[in-house]
């Protein structure tokens, strides 16, 4: 074997069944990514003798005699970026960047014919973050980034600091490290939805050459925990063991095999002999609540924090304000229907996984793809009785999260192996395991009854909500509580009632997902109000506008009012104004094909800018000897762009430019604590800690400079790389040296506890066309209004909105984790679980509102989860407008849309047109 990779020759023989992707990564070419390992996502694209191929499908032995180029070889040997790399930097055509190498290598191989048809050219490349607009800009050479003057960073479109690493394939994600002596873990998973493990024989597995250990429930701690990560662990039920003697879903881990290679570990898994006593299972949440249904967790409810274990109810919420029946009696029209949302997968391009080892100081060190390194450390300490100083948890650059990594799904078992074997161990999920061995979005059934008067006043809103949380209750109660919060509080009604249940079933667990339950309930409520308005002959948007809360009104749910939640800025009226304007612009957007039915629809959304109960962030800003700054933050970067925002905030306070601020992050060693990058807190909570640390450091520098120079403090001013004073300019380098001479450390801490909180608003509007002959739907125009307060970085914030809309369109149109009647996941590859592709996503016009928040840092509000939430109901409302049919169950695939139209007798537009 002789293969030349980026000009360097490799002679090692590949294994017989090895693909080129792993051959390259084993030689240190970490720019080649594993998104799916099945040829669907394109993240592993390389050139073999100049032709682009998916290296995960390319037999490694066939590269003999070939020249391979990876993303690391795209730039010139002198380091000059390839034009495509520069264009992706200029446009910031990425967010997490995990798919970027594949897009770069594909784009670089396109000829003029392919460039003329990007939807087709990028059929083989998936991006989960951007919604593809930024990628399109990159391909077309649009520059989106700015380079503002010192101290003027806030509110400008600064590029992500990791951009140069992302486009050169040198950004280091979880598995992009070379750990000598690394062992590999593979998991044996349950084939039964519910069974007791009677016996487990590992002797044959242990005889497989290369197998070092096999762990079963006999090796696992007795104690229960929750994989969900929250600041307060008591938010989630303690119902999970590292390895259990009972399995509760098909795919639950049964045993872990650690071996010298993945192949040996896989073989070890196949040789484990498990004897199961199969038990009855229940996969439907309504059935699960009925008396006599199989009990998923026969546990002490109080001890494990399960509301009603015998009824499979892990959490429930009941509340009523006013008099709901009187409200319906007062109504002139009542709409009542049941709305259903499906299971979805986060589908972050980087799978779950962790690499862990014992460091030279004897500490357990875990490098993991996590949104919550600090909370994961806390959980590991609790699980294995370790003091915090004996555990370090680090996240590299994280390849997408979307809530899926607000869990401890792998670190516990990897830590167990490392603590036992005292050897480095890696567990990297396959794409298939992401579908049946991780978590999903909660499927919801929402029964809505809503009433209103003829004059358009909403009189009553009643919801019965059933969320299927699967076999384990991670995030179950919290998602359920959140789902009926802002979704009900945004509308003023004197009479509201809710009954909500989070229910165990013997299916793959549901967990945190962008929107955290709100999107599911908003699909129901926003659809129901649209329908209710139509029954009253009222315009649906104006009906909603009339009933939404105003800037000074309380946010009331049937559960009451949350003490620390405030409308600290109000942009909902502006959001509605954007939709009104869009509706009036009848000529805008694509024309509808002849014979297609046309309709338009909108939906509104509100979200708290942080979770209830507090969300802690520490930051530390320091002046360095060379006059630049160091900023340490706990929060992880997974493409959300908060690292850029932290730099901008610090640069603003320290009157400098972002290139002089180095950020260290997502490492339990760098700050005291950080709850994590979830619940839309990266800017509003961690950013506020950064603001406070930077401001404190600026004060400290000015205080010290004034004292040092013996001039009034008021006469000193921070400027780029210096303190300006009446006598001239004191360079920060000298200031640092002066401080060190007298023992003054030029560093300051900042902290924010995440409370009080504000709310952010969104509105989405679509005009679309439906072909009644085929069920095909074409989006003619998409408009999104986002109230993010003062927008810290318009380019990135726009990217968050576009990415949220795109992800939501996926769940509106086709994404569906299908589970069969036995509880088995049927869709476990991207070829079966369609993710939005370049071809699927239209441009969305994104508008930001003119507001400034009184709570958020520098007036900012969150804008990461919320753009997702109004998309499906806006789409459903437009579909209703076009067809006269109320679609109550997601997703709206062409076959289901056609069937509904066909059954309702909606005429075939084509037949009419052509006859």
């Amino acid at each position: 074997m002789r293969v030349e990779v980026n000009g360097r020759a490799h002679h090692e023989e590949p294994r017989a069944g090895q693909c080129l992707r792993t051959y390259l990564r084993e030689r240190g070419w970490f720019g080649v990514k594993k998104g799916c390992d099945q040829g669907d996502c394109g993240a592993c694209t390389v050139h073999v003798d100049g032709r682009p191929v998916h290296s995960c499908l390319y037999p490694a032995f066939r590269a003999d005699g070939c020249a391979v180029t990876t993303v690391e070889g795209l730039a010139s040997p002198e380091g000059d970026l390839h034009p495509v790399q520069q264009r992706f930097l200029d446009a910031q055509g990425f967010q997490c960047g995990f798919c970027t190498a594949g897009f770069l290598m594909t784009t670089a191989a396109l000829g003029p014919d392919e460039l003329a048809d990007p939807p087709r050219a990028f059929k083989g490349n998936l991006c989960r973050c951007t919604g593809y607009r930024a990628i399109e800009d990159a391909v077309r050479g649009v520059k989106n980034t700015e380079e503002p003057a010192p101290g003027e960073s806030v509110g400008r479109s600064l590029p992500a600091p990791a951009g140069p690493q992302v486009v050169t394939g040198t950004a280091r994600y979880t598995f992009d490290v070379d750990v000598p002596g690394l062992l590999h873990m593979k998991l044996l998973r349950s084939p039964h939805a519910h069974a007791r493990i009677v016996a487990i024989d590992t002797s044959a597995a242990l005889r497989v050459p290369g197998v070092r250990a096999v762990f079963t429930h006999h090796d696992a701690p007795e104690r229960h925990f929750s994989t969900a990560r929250h600041e307060h662990p008591e938010e989630d039920p303690d119902d999970t063991r590292v390895l259990d003697d009972t399995v509760r879903y098909i795919g639950q881990r049964v045993a872990a095999v650690v071996a010298d290679s993945e192949g040996a570990a896989e073989e070890g898994c196949r040789r484990i002999n498990v004897r199961y006593a199969v038990l009855p299972a229940v996969v439907d949440p309504e059935e699960a609540m009925r008396p006599g249904a199989p009990v998923v967790h026969d546990k002490d409810g109080t001890l494990h924090r399960i509301a009603r274990p015998r009824n499979n109810v892990v959490g429930e919420a009941h509340g009523e304000i006013g008099d709901i029946e009187a409200g319906f009696a007062e109504a002139d029209a009542v709409h009542e229907d049941t709305y259903r949302t499906q299971r979805g997968q986060h589908a972050s391009l980087e799978t779950h996984g962790a690499v862990a080892w014992i460091d030279e100081d004897g500490r357990l060190t875990v490098r993991t793809s996590s949104q919550t390194p600090f909370l994961t450390r806390r959980a590991l300490c609790a699980l294995y009785d370790l003091p915090p100083e004996q555990v370090r948890v680090v996240a590299g650059r994280v390849g997408g999260g979307f809530g899926g990594k607000q869990e401890m799904l792998v670190e516990d078992i990897v830590a167990l192996a490392v603590l036992r074997l005292r050897r480095p161990v890696k567990l990297e999920y396959t794409r298939a395991e992401q579908f049946y061995g991780a978590t999903t979005r909660h499927p919801f059934t929402v029964h809505v009854k809503a009433g209103a008067r003829r004059d358009g006043v909403l009189t009553a809103l009643r919801l019965r909500v059933v969320a299927n949380t699967g076999a384990y209750g991670n995030h179950g109660p919290a998602v359920m509580f959140h789902s009926v919060g802002e979704s009900m509080a945004i509308y003023r009604a004197l009479n509201k009632k809710v009954d909500a249940y989070s229910v165990y079933t013997h299916t793959v667990p549901a967990g945190a997902f962008r929107g955290y339950g709100l999107g599911q309930v908003m699909f129901a409520v926003e659809s129901a109000f649209d329908e209710l308005a139509r029954r009253l002959g009222l315009d649906p948007l104006e009906f909603k506008a009339r009933n939404v809360i105003g800037a000074d009104e309380p946010m009331v749910t049937p559960g009451g009012h949350e003490e620390d939640l405030h409308i600290a800025s109000y942009g909902l009226d502006q959001c509605i104004g954007i939709v009104r304007r869009a509706r009036a612009e009848t000529g805008a957007g694509l024309p509808a094909p002849e014979g297609w039915l046309v309709g338009e629809g909108a939906a509104l959304a509100m979200i708290a800018t942080g979770p209830p109960g507090g969300h802690v962030a520490d930051a530390r800003a320091a002046l360095l000897p060379d006059g630049t700054f160091d900023l340490a933050v706990g929060t992880a970067e997974f493409g959300n762009g908060t690292t850029t925002v932290h730099q901008q905030i610090a640069a603003g306070e320290l009157a400098t430019t972002v290139d002089l601020i180095t950020i260290r992050q997502s490492d339990t060693d760098v700050v005291r604590h950080d709850t994590g990058a979830f619940a839309s807190t990266g800017t509003v909570v961690a950013g506020k800690a950064t603001l406070r640390a930077s401001r404190a450091l600026a004060d400290l520098l000015l205080d010290f400079a004034a004292a040092h120079l013996r001039v009034p403090r008021a006469d000193c001013r921070l400027a780029e790389e210096a303190v300006l004073h009446p006598g001239g300019r004191l360079p920060l380098k000298e200031l640092y040296a002066a401080g060190r001479a007298v023992g003054v450390e030029c560093a300051a801490d900042g902290n924010f506890g995440g409370t009080p909180r504000s709310v952010a608003f969104n509105a989405q509007w679509f005009r679309l066309a439906v072909d009644p002959a085929t069920g095909e739907i074409r989006i003619l125009r998409s408009v999104h209004a986002a109230d993010a307060g003062k927008v810290m970085n318009p380019m990135q914030c726009r990217g968050q909105v576009e990415g949220g809309v795109a992800q939501a369109l996926g769940s509106t149109l086709f994404e569906n984790v299908r589970v069969d009647a036995c509880g088995k996941v049927e869709t476990f590859a991207f070829r079966h679980y369609r993710l939005p592709q370049y071809a699927d996503i239209p441009r969305t016009e994104v508008h930001f509102m003119e507001t400034a928040d009184a709570i958020g840092p520098l007036g900012a509000k969150s804008m990461s989860e919320s753009p997702f939430n109004p998309v499906a109901p806006a789409f459903a409302n437009a579909l209703r407008d076009a067809t006269g049919i109320r679609f109550t169950e997601l997703p709206f695939t062409r076959d289901r849309v056609w069937r509904a139209l066909h059954e309702a007798g909606v005429r075939d537009g084509h037949a009419r047109g052509s006859s």
């Binding site: 090895q18 191929v53 066939r62 059929k123 993945e262 592709q837 069937r899």
Partner: protein, 273 residues
Amino acid sequence: MDLNTVVEIRDARHPAPWRPGDAWLGGGTYLFSEPQPHLRRLVDLSRMGWPPVRRHADGSLEIAATCTIAELSAFARGLAAGAAPLFEQCCRAFLASFKIWNMATVGGNLGNGLPAGPMISLTAGLDGECLLIAQDGVRRRVRVVDFITGAGRKALTEGELIRSVTLPARALNCRTAYRQASLYGLGRSGVLIIGALDPLDGSLAITITAATVRPFRLWFPLPPTAGALRSAIEAAVADDEWFDDIHGLPEWRRHMTFHHAEQIRRELGEAAR
């Protein structure tokens, strides 16, 4: 992905007895896309040196099993035949992108036998015939419509090799029409219908793929009426032969088959007039 149970690659040019756990390796785009724990050896076809496409003296076109989709697409661009546009249309019906075309082979697509396999659509639509070589060297020819017997099922014996597929000159000279439907934009085919109008005798063949568990080729001596076409489809495809998977409800596939078959009938019918 790595196929960790595979311990040997054998060059197919040097025959050796077929063993359980052996598999032919074409482009590898299917084999390497899913776990194959039952496999121990891959028999590599990449060095056979078969010409990707050959035009025979009788005008027929023989496509080697190892011909890649990229090679077929490039060849068809220079093909002077009535059916030439159909080649690129079917290449584009792949869910996979042009990058996969560089590796995936015609034989691999046939050998997979999936209803949505666009090379099955192409070669069934043009009345193709597979040349198969058994382990004992015996050669046989099977029409593509008979070669695929169900979803993922094909008339191959253990160790039998797809050598090539041949399209007759008569079919290549047909005027063709093509319709494809998917649940997604540029997505996997849920329905793929091909019409082939023979200029010599005016006969029309309508081939249904993707919507059904196996290809159906309906031949009409003269273009049928709308009603006759519909009846013929209803008579040919049994209720349980409409394919039921996540890429489309059977009733939608059936409807879309009627819809597109009728469009093709009109398109080619007007051309015939």
